[in-house]
């Protein structure tokens, strides 16, 4: 069946299977930042923003995404670069496989909670798995991003 998906503000006319998951459609459309991690919506590595909510795309039917605003890291441009620079400043991206979804998650979190506390950050991002880093560096990087890139303080 043919559907229209709006990804990063761009419309794609795409033929999908009725049971096709958004992860597979997005990768087929060339959005390679969206990674496959676990197949069971537990690891958060396939997360994208759908209508400003963080959603695991491995368990979201492509047909359901019609008419919604889908955002991947490719659509974040300068903001992705700033968040990415904060993460790489700590070296915390390590293997990098979970990073694009984490960048989208941080973006979505900061849309929703303007000045989250460390506890709120941990809760919001709890579903974003990372096996390399021990998470401490993520939190240092997010703090830096909020202080320097968003609030302009040094």
């Amino acid at each position: 069946m043919e559907i229209v998906l709006t990804v990063n503000k761009k419309d794609h006319h795409v033929i999908v299977e009725p049971d096709e998951m958004l992860l597979d459609t997005l990768r087929r459309l060339g959005y390679k930042s969206v990674k496959k991690g676990c197949d069971t919506s537990n690891c958060g590595i396939c997360s994208v923003s759908i209508d400003h909510k963080l959603v695991p795309s491995c368990s979201y039917l492509s047909v359901r995404a019609q008419g919604k605003d889908i955002l991947t890291v490719e659509g974040l441009e300068e903001e992705a670069r700033l968040i990415g620079e904060s993460l790489t400043r700590e070296g915390v991206e390590q293997c990098g496989y979970c990073s694009p979804s984490l960048v989208v998650a941080i973006h979505t979190m900061l849309e929703e909670l303007k000045q989250p506390t460390e506890d709120e950050i941990k809760h919001y991002l709890a579903g974003n798995m990372c096996r390399c880093s021990g998470f401490e560096g993520h939190h240092r990087a997010i703090k830096h991003h909020m202080e320097v890139n968003l609030n302009g303080s040094q």
Partner: protein, 763 residues
């Protein structure tokens, strides 16, 4: 210029911004989809297999079974050659030795057709009685491998007729005599589980034939050179017809040291001429790759009344599951990377059997025996202190290894063979211990504080060591090329799997060449294009590969000076990274490199360095945690975990820090959550992230790492390894903290609240 700087990882920003970089991102779009039919039985033989219906589907291009693939024996292990692991499996076999073992491989045009074809393969099985309990596997009437052609490359104590993949024993001094002469003896038994790596990128391999009809394999591996060798030998394919390379890798931690899907995609491509890709499902990653070796460890410690440790005796039973990958070496590391911590003993005993069972195989995983051994020895040390009525810190300080000391264990136990005698030239373990005690405020918190009627806060501690590569086995090599306009290419065999090794190797080269790290482009791990390296394992990259880069760069400095002398026609020049000087004359590196490329005495400057360690200098650390525990339920939370680490010079302090923090959290997961259970018929229950609990960012209050100043003379700019040591201490630290809180010794991992509750009921 380069070393000891927290610069960004060269690949970091591109990866965080989601650029296509991993195997799945760069595989040909038209690649056949490969999937594997897996055994539903723990032990079975294929009676009949009929693939006709599957092959009749127009979308299906190829079906592999044991009947149409080469029957050569192999080990997946991915170690130096000849491997110290038994050749005990085939690419596809008629005998299936665990739930998840490969029955058949199907390749087709799209996933749905391939999944349907898997269902259409008709198999009848002769179901056999499996061996599932590793404690009764040795000499069990059921043999996992008897008379199936399995063999060892050299003596590793491999006795398949006894279900032994490998076995080993050594004794220094007279253990029984030392025990009988000890005033206090502690005996304990400890169990560690088959932890899963849970790397975020599932294993994936893609093969295609290039325009020269050579087999190209893109794969998420830690060991491209081993993979090429194993493909060649197993599939009877000439080495010159194979290229293996790795793009960016989504984590490994040992899980991608062995060969996995590479053989299947290679066969499909060779048979069909078409590109093929095999992306493991998460269930396959858990069920059909491999885990850590589960172990039972019996420890006996003997000491005199004053706390002088006289003897350590260790007997291990290790479970390698259906296949013996890394069976011997993981066993030996459980001794060789723990026993030298207490080097002043009169006698040391170490014995172990590695048994086959009909479960998911075990293999390499960060820590690699050391974490298992550390849990047992460091738990036992606290118990011995208790029996002596002595402070466990005082006991450790009295007996632990110090700088410029040695241990006979270094000489006797290597990895799969004899070890290498070594004096420890850098060991700041004493400083690490003092530092961690001060930062956690041990004296005010030890052993426990009663917070309220139900809640206790307590502290626990352990020390650890690791190694830096496998001496006289592992080789790393590197090549440096000077281009026009003064920029360098560094090509290394070392395999960056996310650790940042491409970056730190460039930093080492930059330090020697005295140029900014940005002037050095790095390309790593491609069997066609880079020099050899064993790969990313055994804590070897910084030390072994780093030394090879240092050597290549030192040679390059000499080459630059040689060309400078020729240019000026003088006998002596100096070089400072920017200019070459002859008296008052000077020429910039940019200008000289451009001259020799285009116009004057033209030649290409290129150097190569290779390095094999003559020793394996251990990094050391002390770890301590504060936990809060509910007496009623056994529920506990790790409030903070402090680590003080001696890894020599940190080439890149940021990347070293993340290696430590990440290693500690994997160790905390092993200590606390990561449970592995099988059904009565041998099926792995914990085969998804729903059932297998890795730590999230909610689990730990704070991880706090500090590097203690240290310099290893044999390392590149004083560096030792840092990749593995972080995982070693958490199991013993958590167990010791629980003992300090409640008085119960938890001797089985993971330490679950319900087990604490049961232990309390039984006291």
């Amino acid at each position: 210029m380069g070393v000891n700087k927290p610069i960004r990882k060269k690949d970091g920003l591109g990866l965080t911004m989601g650029k296509p970089a991993y195997t799945a991102d760069i595989s040909p779009e038209n690649a056949l989809v490969v999937k594997v039919l897996r055994s539903p039985y723990a032990y079975a033989k294929i009676k009949t297999i009929d693939t006709t219906a599957a092959l009749n589907m127009p979308e299906i291009k190829c079906v592999l079974t044991y009947q149409n693939v080469p029957g050569n024996m192999l080990t997946r292990a991915g170690q130096g050659y000849p491997e110290p692991s038994p050749y005990d499996r085939k690419t596809l076999d008629r005998t299936l030795r665990y739930v998840g073992d490969a029955v058949a491989v199907v390749a087709g045009e799209h996933v749905k057709a391939v999944e349907k074809a898997l269902e259409m393969i008709e198999v009848t099985y002769e179901v056999l009685e499996p061996v599932l309990d590793f404690e009764t596997a040795k000499d069990h009437p059921v043999k996992v491998h008897d008379k199936d052609g399995t063999f060892e490359m050299f003596d590793i104590g491999h006795f398949p007729e006894r279900n032994l993949a490998a076995s080993y024993a050594m004794e220094i001094g007279d253990v029984e005599k030392a025990l009988s002469e000890s005033d206090v003896v502690y005996e304990g038994r400890f169990y560690t589980q088959a932890q899963s790596h849970a790397m975020t990128e599932p294993h994936i391999s893609t093969a295609y034939l290039d325009y020269q009809e050579r087999l190209n394999v893109i794969t998420s591996t830690q060991t491209p050179f081993h993979v090429r060798r194993i493909i060649s030998r197993t599939l009877n394919l000439p080495m010159e017809n194979i290229r293996v390379f790795k793009p960016r890798i989504g984590g490994g931690y040992g899980g991608k040291q062995a060969i996995h899907g590479e053989l299947y995609v290679s066969l499909v491509t060779l048979m069909t001429g078409l590109p093929a890709t095999y992306n493991y499902t998460r269930r396959e990653v858990f069920e059909s790759t491999y885990s850590r070796h589960a172990m039972r460890i019996d420890v006996r410690l003997g000491a005199s009344r004053d706390g002088t440790l006289k003897v350590i005796d260790t007997e291990i039973l290790s479970n390698t599951g259906a296949y013996g990958e890394h069976a011997l070496t993981v066993l030996m590391v459980a001794g060789s990377k723990t026993l030298p911590l207490y080097n002043k003993v009169e006698a040391v005993g170490f014995r172990g059997d590695v048994v086959y069972t009909n479960i998911t195989p075990a293999g390499a995983y960060r820590g690699y025996g050391a974490v298992q051994g550390n849990f047992a020895i460091e738990s036992a040390m606290d118990e011995l202190a208790d029996k002596l009525g002595m402070d466990p810190i005082v006991l450790r300080k009295k007996n632990m290894i110090k700088e410029m000391e040695t241990s006979k264990v270094f000489e006797i136990m290597g990895e799969g063979k004899e070890g290498t005698a070594m004096t420890v030239e850098s060991c700041k373990l004493d400083k690490c211990l003092d530092d961690v005690l001060e930062r956690i405020n041990w004296k005010d918190k030890y052993p426990r504080i009663e917070v309220d009627e139900h809640t206790i806060r307590s502290v626990g501690l352990a020390i650890a060591m690791q190694g830096s590569g496998i001496p006289e086995v592992d080789m790393g090599s590197a090549s440096l090329k000077l281009n026009d306009f003064g920029v360098f290419n560094l090509t290394v065999g070392a395999t960056d799997i996310g650790t940042g090794s491409d970056t730190i190797l460039a930093q080492i080269a930059a330090e020697v060449l005295m140029v900014p790290t940005d002037k050095i482009s790095v390309y790593s791990s491609d069997t066609d294009l880079t020099p050899f390296d064993v790969g990313a394992y055994a804590s070897s990259t910084t030390y072994i590969s780093g030394n090879s880069v240092r050597i290549a760069a030192e040679k390059m400095v000499e080459e630059i000076k040689r060309v400078g002398r020729r240019h000026f026609g003088v006998a002596e020049v100096t070089y400072d990274g920017e200019f070459i000087y002859a008296g008052t004359d000077r020429i910039s590196l940019v200008e000289l490199s451009t001259l020799i490329t285009y116009s004057e005495d033209q030649e290409q400057l290129q150097t190569i360095g290779s390095y094999v360690g003559t020793k394996t200098p251990p990094p050391y650390m002390a770890g301590a945690a504060e936990i809060e525990i509910d007496k009623r339920t056994g529920h506990y939370k790790i409030l903070n975990f402090y680590a003080s680490v001696d890894c020599g010079t940190t080439i890149n302090p940021n990347l070293a820090l993340i290696q430590m923090e990440g290693g500690l959290l994997q160790g905390i997961g092993m200590a606390s959550y990561e449970d592995v259970n099988y059904t009565a018929r041998g099926r792995l229950i914990n085969s998804s992230f729903l059932k297998y609990k890795v730590p999230t960012r909610m689990e730990v209050g704070k991880i706090d790492v500090k590097f203690i100043e240290s310099y290893e003379p044999s390392g590149p700019f004083g560096a030792k390894s840092v990749g593995e040591i972080g995982i070693d201490t958490p199991p013993a630290v958590v167990a010791n903290a629980i003992k300090n809180a409640l008085g119960v010794r938890m001797n089985r991992l993971p330490i679950l609240p319900e087990d604490i509750w049961r232990a309390l009921k039984n006291t």
